[in-house]
Structure formats: C-alpha cells, structure tokens
Symmetry: C2
Subunit: 224 residues, 2 copies
C-alpha cells in the first residue's frame, strides 16, 4: 500500500498512566477524536476505520482499548451526562443574593465550552432520535435540568407552579438559541454573554426575571 503514513498522535500530557509501554495512542485519544466526530458529523459517521486512519493507527489498536463500537459509544454517552447536566445542576445550586444573580449564574454555564458543550448536547439529542436507550438518558437529563432550574426559582420565593413556568421559559429559550445559532463562532457568543454579565450586574435588580430574559435577548441578538 503506497499510502503515506500520517504522523502518530503522541500524548502531550503524560501526567496520568505513565505505566504503559510503547505508547502511540491512548484511550483518551480515541475518546477525544470520537467526540469531535460525533459532534461534527453525527453518530452515523462515527466509524472505527475512519477514526483509525485519522489517527494514523491500525484498526486493531481500537480493539485493545474498547470492546467494540458500542463500548465507545457508551463511554461517550457517560462523559456527556457527567459533563453537561452536572454543570447546569451545580450552577443552579450556586449561592446568590437574589433571583437575578441566580439566573446570571445559570447563564454562566454556557459561556465556557469546557463547562457545557453545546455541540455535544445537540449531537446526543440527535442521536437519541435513533436510539431508545439514548432517548431515555436525555429525557432524564432534561427532567433533571428543569428540576434544578425550577428549584433555583423556588429558593427565591416562587411557588412551585411559577417556578416551573420560569424554568421552562429559561431552558427552552437557551436550548433554542443554541439550536439556531449553533455554528456561530464561540468568540462572538462569549463576548456577547460577557457584555451581558457586565451590564447585568451594574443594573438595579428587578423583581422579576422577565427583565433578565430581555437583557439576555439583547445580548444575543445579531446586531452590536
């Protein structure tokens, strides 16, 4: 085969697992590449042959780290669940002086892609349409997130019904924003949200989160 051998992906952070011999790739390398492919091309395009050629490694290497393709997918799903949903829940539980500051905490989840990976979230949401198991996972995740947001409102005096309504408005609007503006450069989005956060804290606190939604919409709208 005359195919030119692509350079091997060596690890850059050997702080963990230094006990392996003849290291060329690691399980983490497979997972990272697989996550990128999942986000950018979907589950259907997540193929072992494709991954191995991109890493410049034989397919056999994959079967050393994972039992099979399903094993890789399960690992990706676990990672998503631990990352995205937990981020939202912990941010909703952060201490805050009033509901406006609490909503502000909620928005902070979506500023740092290391906290909440929106691309991964939609990739999984899409994957769920084709897999009943995954569907159950994301339905549970959505319920858990909505519950956390609702509890956040309840902490500041809203009764259960009003808290639920506000949680749903907030969560749906956030998800919808990401669905539509998914491919907007992260720098643009971050600068907007940072601007929002600065402007928000400098304002008189309002007695409703309606104003917070309004300011958030201002911050995310297309024009400067």
């Amino acid at each position: 085969m005359a195919q030119s051998r692509t350079p091997v992906l060596h690890r850059d952070d050997p702080e963990k697992d230094p006990l392996v011999g003849h290291v060329k790739v690691t399980r983490e390398d497979w997972l990272n590449l697989a996550r990128n492919v999942l986000v950018q091309e979907g589950v259907g395009e997540l193929k072992i042959l494709s991954l191995s050629t991109r890493m410049g490694v034989s397919r056999s290497s994959f079967y050393w780290y994972f039992k099979n393709r399903a094993d890789l997918l399960a690992a990706l799903l676990d990672e998503w669940e631990a990352r995205n949903t937990r981020t939202i829940v912990t941010h909703c539980e952060m201490p805050a002086d009033d509901i406006n500051a609490a909503v502000c905490n909620f928005f902070r989840c979506f500023v740092d892609p290391a906290l909440f990976d929106r691309g991964l979230d939609f990739a999984v949401r899409d994957w769920a349409r084709r897999d009943v198991q995954v569907n159950q996972r994301i339905e549970a995740a959505d319920a858990q997130r909505l519950e956390a947001i609702s509890a956040m409102f309840a902490r500041f005096g809203y009764d259960a019904y009003d808290a639920d309504i506000r949680a749903r408005i907030l969560y749906f609007m956030q998800i919808g924003y990401h669905a539509v503006e998914l491919r907007e450069p992260m720098e643009v989005r971050m600068s907007r949200l940072e601007g929002f956060l600065r402007g928000f804290t400098g304002r008189e606190p309002t007695e409703d989160t309606i104003e917070a939604f309004r300011v958030f919409a201002m911050a995310t709208e297309a024009r400067p």
Copy 2:
C-alpha cells in the same frame, strides 16, 4: 432467494398522474418514505437499498424516478423549505387586531403538523451540521423566519430594535421547546395549545407579549 415478497405499496390517491402504465410505486411514494426515514433516522440512514426493500421494490425502480441519491436529498430539502419556512412567514403576515392576536397566529403554525413539520425541521437542522450547502439553506431560513416575526412586531408599533429582541425570544423559545419535547405525543401537545388558544382569546388583551409568553409557558408546562 427465499425472502418473502412484501406486498407492494399501491397508490391510494390516483387523482394525479393517471397516465402511467404498470404502476406500483410513484415518485411521491419514494419521497414520502424517504421523508419519514430522514426524520426518524437521519440523513445517514437514508439509503436506497433500505428504502427499496421497505417498499417491496427493486433498487432499480429508484433510479427511474431519481438521478441518484443526491437528487432525492435535494428534492427533500426543497420540500422542507417550501413547507416549514413559508408556513411561518404567512402566519406572521396574517391580519390581527393587536400584537397578542398576532402572536397567537404565530403559535398556530405549530399546532398542525401539516403546516410546520417539527420533526423535519430538526432533521434538516441536524443534516446541516454535516453539509455546507444545507447549512446555508437553514441559515437563510432562520434569518427569513426571524425577519418575518420581527416585521410582525414592527407592524404593531415596536421599533426595529425591540421588535428584533421579541422575535428572537419568541423563536428561540419555540425551537427550544420542540428540541426538548420532540417526542411528546402530538395529541398532548395539540390539546395544550388548543387550551392555550381558548384561554388566550378569552382574556383581556395585555399591552405586551410578555404575558403571551407566560401563558404559552403555562400551556406547555408538564402538569395539567
């Protein structure tokens, strides 16, 4: 081959194209099945072999109606564009007494799946992540929809900036709701929206659409 022959899908509505001979399937049959597969399983699973076996017809039949796979995908995309985006635009342009009635018209798009196919919309949105051409189409569609909603608000006295903000809140929340509750039974969703529409028209008109969002959230929240 001992494979039992599945019964052929005959057309139920021969009102159009009665001039074909030896009719077993039509171009419409291929398109309808392909649309279902696109929505439920994604573009990646849209395979000619799979479609033909489901219709109980040879693969060769496909190549009579379509040039190739790309031809089918283009037809599906055209259909989506004509259906979903045009529905939203026309509903936004409907005459209304005040902004609340106008927002109410907007919501009506999403009651009837024949008007706006939410499953198709998300299938295309997902497809766009893997295809630059499709991405451009859906970005144009989102811009067109937002423009129509914004113009709707502008008709009722909102200046361009406020109209844009409200259009984005409304559209993002709607898209987010569909993204999260996508697999909720349509009857449940319809009964909620119908209840919303009834309750809405029986109320005193408010001077802001904030109240409309609030009532919409009440109508779509999980509890009765």
